[in-house]
Symmetry: C2
Subunit: 146 residues, 2 copies
DNA sequence: GTCTCTGCAAATCATTTGCAGGCTG
DNA sequence: CAGCCTGCAAATGATTTGCAGAGAC
């Protein structure tokens, strides 16, 4: 999602477009992968002095609530990325090195999965973790999810 | 897993078998689903006075490190349950009402999933959330994973 | 008796909230 | 100008750690 689209989305819902939010939008528009609150704080701090942590949290939450950002609970904490533009139901392959996500159009539930007797599925998760083509070569050893 | 098995596992690795750990083992052996650190603290407090939170955390961590307990990161926090005895690779269907887990023998990766170009899968998650047969009827409305 | 385990209290760490002044529309 | 947004500081909640005494083997 482009920074401008995010800003428009905020503006459309009556939110103020501040310097911070502009910077935040740009940051996520350019980020290759997920960012934690701390990542955002540190990144924004570079181009934007006198920033406070709570404002970062507040904005992340606001943007997530209006579906501009996607939140993902990793084992080592919560991270965010711009909402993916992919349409239709899909899942993700997440690179453990660059944390970039790739769409996986396949959904396990589209085929007949043998469920427990009488189990009524409401929601599901299907995620692949590994190394993408670009990171594969140099990511031999290191880079765990945590 | 039976309480006695858990206790034996601890004993075998040179850990002391204390009242607390016995109680903890019994608790997990009987628990139908996942328990958070707080759940454990509250449950154990009932049958075991003068208990401290940090000891609960310590024991949960120790038991998890020796694969007696399984840790699961829910969106509303970390929870534990006795390691499932199911053999072979499998996934889980988790009831949002009772939090009991059911084995799902199917694995999406066993069939040809179309992966992103050059993506090398290291790890994957596949989980179903919903209501089990027992909870289905009365769980109409409420009980989200949060 | 030795070494691990426990409770207590204090330290972290991530996240949230109250408040008064600053900036956007 | 009114109301939302921000920084500051303090509150909160979850988890960890240091320490000295209690209990397991």
């Amino acid at each position: 999602m482009l920074a401008q689209e995010m800003i428009d989305a905020m503006s459309k819902r009556g939110l103020r477009v501040t310097d911070q939010r502009r910077t935040l939008a740009r940051l996520f528009a350019e980020a290759p992968g997920y960012l934690s609150a701390k990542d955002v704080y540190e990144e924004m701090g570079k181009t934007y002095g006198g920033l406070s942590f709570d404002t970062v949290y507040r904005n992340l939450r606001v943007l997530q609530e209006m579906d501009v950002l996607e939140q993902f609970v990793f084992e080592d904490g919560v991270k965010f990325k711009a909402h993916c533009r992919e349409h239709g139901h899909h899942h993700h392959a997440i690179c453990l090195h660059c944390e970039k996500t790739y769409a996986v159009p396949f959904c396990p539930l589209d085929i007949q999965v043998e469920l427990p007797q009488g189990f009524n599925v409401v929601k599901h998760k299907f995620e692949l973790f590994g190394y993408c083509e670009a990171c594969g070569p140099q990511a031999e050893a290191g880079g765990a999810e945590r």
